[in-house]
């Protein structure tokens, strides 16, 4: 059912929904950007409608709740282990279509990749989604090329803010009753979605091994500063690393953590004996890009990248990952012509 609500009535709906659930949504964090007096949009828990940033694209993705940047898995002392507590409440995540498609990628890695990751599953089981409609394509978006511009279900309700009013297409019956009680009017509502982006990419089919040796990667050895921001903002990057911590004032007690990892950052491919598989930033870029648009597909049947463009938006060196995809495609096609 479709409902139209004012900002205040949307807040009342959130309060009702929030009695038994947590609401996780993009929030404009004032002054918390990289530079002085610059805001950043990242995810946080909210209780009121105005807190939810529906206009800007979020700089950081929703994944931080499913795969926290830093998560204590369990505590240990001598011969005992205790798993870290977690909030048992259901969570509703507000996200855009591209990000909803990203959930499928996260699930593939953590639930369908030979075995189930219990720490992912225990939070994933509590998560539901609310779709944020896209009234326009944002800078760097290329969701249409990736086929992620439209969500076919998988969410409780959608929200579009148009002219100060909130438009909802509510799929869930229980929530529909709550929306109906606060609605100004009922009418047919369809979540908005974009049909064209300024940025377009062409995903290559099979990428021959020759592309791994292509000189196109060398440019990034010089340009890239291996900061890994592209990985940390990506809704589909899932890599983590483990840390066993022994507390400084009592080394017999400690915890095991897992923290986000980046295939661009130093240390990622270090192995015992001083080996390092990808030393140059160009090699790291090659690994990342081909993983997103080729290698993942070979295992799961669909591409990992969803075309949100956050990596291009965050790159301090103005490196365009979207442009690299097209360069790879050109290299593949050129290679085919040349035999």
């Amino acid at each position: 059912m479709g409902y139209v609500l004012s900002r205040d009535s949307f807040t009342r709906v959130l309060k009702k929904i929030g009695q038994s659930r947590r609401i996780y949504a993009p929030v404009n964090k004032v002054g918390e950007g990289r530079f002085t007096d610059v805001d950043v949009v990242r995810y946080d828990f909210v209780t009121e409608a105005p807190e939810i940033e529906l206009d800007k694209k979020s700089d950081y993705a929703f994944k931080e709740i499913l795969t926290p940047l830093s998560q204590t898995l369990f505590f240990f002392t001598e011969d005992e282990v205790k798993e870290a507590d977690m909030d048992e409440r259901e969570v509703i995540i507000f996200l855009r279509s591209c990000d909803l498609h990203a959930v499928k990628r996260l699930d593939a890695i953590y639930l369908e990749n030979k075995f189930v990751d219990p720490f992912y599953k225990r939070i994933r089981d509590k998560v539901r989604f609310a779709l944020i409609g896209c009234g326009r394509s944002y800078e760097d978006c290329f969701c249409v090329s990736m086929g992620t511009n439209r969500a076919d279900g998988g969410y409780l309700f959608s929200v579009d803010m148009i002219g100060g009013k909130y438009y909802f297409d509510v799929k869930d019956d229980e929530l529909a009753a709550i929306f109906a009680s606060e609605a100004e009017s009922e009418q047919a509502v369809e979540a908005r979605y974009v049909t064209e982006n300024e940025v377009k990419v062409t995903i290559p089919g099979n990428v021959p091994v020759s592309v791994y040796k292509d000189p196109l990667w060398e440019e990034y050895t010089v340009r890239c500063i291996n900061c890994g921001r592209c990985n940390f903002v990506c809704p589909t990057c899932t890599c983590f690393t483990m840390q066993d911590i022994f507390y400084t004032d009592n080394g017999r007690v400690g915890e095991r953590r897992r923290v986000g990892a980046s295939c661009m950052v130093d240390g990622y491919t270090n192995v015992a004996g001083g080996g390092q598989y990808r030393r140059t930033n160009g090699e790291r870029m090659r690994f990342k890009v081909l993983h997103k648009i080729h290698d993942f597909r070979k295992r799961f049947g669909f591409d990992m990248c969803v075309g949100c463009g956050r990596c291009d938006m965050v790159c301090p060196e103005y490196i365009s990952y979207a442009n690299i995809i097209n360069k790879v495609n050109d290299a593949v096609e050129g290679g085919a012509v040349n035999g």
Partner: protein, 329 residues
């Protein structure tokens, strides 16, 4: 008509006494170093019409238009009126040019308007400061710089204000990538270290430059809502005892630094050498005479520094004392 020029008035009206007899130069004040393109075009017009067609860009972010005939000063003053209006400089009488020149143009680096490392809007504060202290015939130099790189070279001024941010750390967003540690060490003072996978900031060593925030890929490091300042005082060039300004206060707040400067003017009025040549004396020489404690008593009067602020108990200046010795080491 005989040429009868009051050179004392000429200088206070922001014209230069030139070595070329019969000529002067108009000194345009540009607080914070930012001026609209329209005013810059006007400056060029004045240089073409009354000057010798050249513009001298000064060290303190003003410009001087040389080669102006002394007889044209009134005409120049009315022609630069739109520039004075545009730059928001205080004036006493319209079409009469600048009412003083003793308190020098307030300098600013590009600051947070442009620079990734700028910790505050230096131009805005320079303009605000100029509004507060100008016009005044006292010889005072003030400069604002956005971070500890000190691109505005505020350590050459009587009062220099260096931007600081207090890095805020959220360990839950930290992935131990160690980029903050690396760049703090390379670009700054090396105040960060990793303990059990999380970053520890040596708060005594940290200079508040914000490099950690700039390089953090996850927003584990963010800037403090408050803008802070390192206050450095009594730097100067000159023939007797040129020296760099020394640290007076760190983690000072904006309200306090403005109050201190206002107080400093009262201090100078009280203690300036009554026989000072042309009524000009660097504040540092006055502090040398009255002692640091008397300076503090005046400058910190009714100043309620924020809780974080730390004030130096004593300040010692170095530099060369050419009035004592000109010998090389």
């Amino acid at each position: 008509m005989a040429r009868d020029i009051n050179t004392k008035k000429l200088k206070k009206n922001a014209f230069r006494y030139s070595k070329v007899r019969g000529e002067t130069a108009s000194r345009i004040r540009i607080p914070g170093g930012v001026i609209n393109a329209k005013s810059m075009a006007r400056i060029a017009e004045v240089a073409e019409k009354y000057g010798n067609g050249t513009i001298f860009v000064t060290n303190r972010q003003g410009v001087e238009l040389p080669g102006i005939a002394l007889e044209d000063m009134d005409a120049v003053n009315s022609m630069i009126q739109s520039i004075i209006d545009d730059s928001g400089v205080n004036q006493e009488e319209r079409d009469k040019g600048y009412p003083a020149s003793g308190t020098r143009n307030v300098v600013a680096c590009p600051g947070s308007r442009l620079c990734p490392f700028g910790c505050y809007d230096t131009t805005e504060l320079a303009r605000k400061m100029d509004k507060m202290i100008f016009p005044s015939h006292l010889h005072v130099k003030i400069a604002f710089t956005g971070c500890s790189n000190d691109c505005a070279k505020v350590r050459m001024d009587d009062f220099g204000f260096i931007g600081m941010t207090e890095p805020q750390y959220d360990p839950n967003r930290c992935v131990s990538c160690e980029q903050c540690i690396k760049y703090c060490s390379i670009r700054s003072v090396g105040a960060l270290s990793l303990v059990n996978g999380k970053v520890v900031r040596d708060t005594a060593k940290c200079i508040g430059c914000g490099v950690c925030v700039a390089y953090c890929p996850t927003r584990a490091w963010t800037r403090s809502k408050e803008h802070y300042f390192r206050v450095v005082i009594m730097g100067r060039t000159g023939k007797k005892n040129p020296r760099l300004a020394e640290d007076f206060i760190k983690w000072a707040d904006e309200e306090s630094i403005f109050k201190m400067v206002r107080n400093a003017y009262a201090y100078v009025e009280e203690y300036i050498d009554p026989n000072a040549l042309e009524g000009k004396e660097h504040i540092g020489y006055i502090v040398d005479r009255t002692g640091f404690d008397e300076f503090c008593k005046w400058v910190l009067k009714d100043v309620n520094l924020n809780e974080k602020a730390e004030v130096a108990s004593r300040v010692y200046w170095g530099g060369r004392h050419y009035d004592r010795s000109n010998d090389l080491m």
